[in-house]
């Protein structure tokens, strides 16, 4: 078992860092390209959501990340202490977005759901949002 915990400032450039940190975390795993892309996308979507929606681009705040590897099972936890989501089920619907004018596609959760095996979203207005994704990783043959 291995685990890393990182708090990153809610700056959009840290999304790139978080993807890179995940790739480095799994460097010895011999992950397939497609698995690697899927988990990088999951992290990217979750952190972008935390920054753009959770913190409404307030860069002073922090996004809390945990990457946990147990055998072949990766758990990704992305937590913000932002505004929270009023209706989680609605937010998870494809194309739902509260920021159409900012060119948000409304596909973040949809893509995360397609690429992860399991997703839990815990959110409370005024308290924040935690996204927990689990995925069984595939090694190269």
């Amino acid at each position: 078992m291995n685990k890393i915990i990182i708090d990153v400032m809610a700056k959009i450039e840290n999304v790139t860092f978080a993807r890179g940190a995940l790739a480095t975390f799994l460097i010895d795993f011999d992950l397939t390209i497609s698995s690697m892309n899927e988990i990088k996308t999951i992290v990217s979507e979750a952190i972008t959501n935390a920054i753009v929606h959770g913190y409404q681009n307030n860069k002073e705040k922090f996004v809390h990340l945990e990457y946990i590897l147990e055998n072949d099972l990766l758990t990704i936890i992305v937590k913000d202490e932002g505004v929270g989501i009023e209706d989680v089920n609605k937010a998870r619907e494809p194309l739902f977005t509260t920021k159409l004018e900012e060119e948000r596609a409304g596909l973040g959760f949809t893509i995360m759901e397609m690429f992860a095996d399991e997703i839990d979203v815990i959110s409370k207005i005024g308290v924040g949002t935690t996204v927990i994704c689990r995925k069984k990783l595939s090694r190269n043959e």
């Binding site: 959009i12 790139t16 972008t48 060119e103 948000r104 596909l107």
Partner: protein, 116 residues
């Protein structure tokens, strides 16, 4: 910088070649420039060449949809080419193939648009 873009114009076509990763961070860096070029040079066709793009998330999709919404008002369109498997997957998953033309590579795009 995790994204380099090369842009050039032929007739009323803006070509954008991506090299790197297209996420929210990089979208914010290029959006204004692309919009300005489209308006300034009366661009009708936007060609996204993804040959050297190795990552794109829904922020990239949102950026493409934004340009589509503008171009469709002036009867223009968007052409995507040279997608690797990962990019193709996210494009298909988001339904972009329904609103964009997809071509194999830039030569194919030029043949389609009648550009020498």
């Amino acid at each position: 910088m995790t994204l380099e873009v090369e842009m050039f114009i032929k007739r009323n076509i803006l070509y954008i070649r991506f090299n790197g990763e297209l996420d929210q961070n990089n979208v914010e860096k290029i959006r204004k420039k692309v919009i300005d070029l489209i308006v300034k040079y009366n661009i009708r066709y936007l060609v996204f060449n993804f040959k050297n793009l190795n990552f794109m998330d829904s922020s990239g999709i949102g950026f493409i949809i934004g340009r589509y919404n503008y171009l469709k008002k002036i009867n223009g369109s968007i052409i995507l080419c040279s997608m690797n498997e990962q990019i193709k997957r996210i494009v298909m998953l988001s339904g972009l193939q329904k609103i964009c033309t997809i071509k194999k590579d830039e030569d194919d795009v030029n043949a389609y648009l009648g550009v020498a």
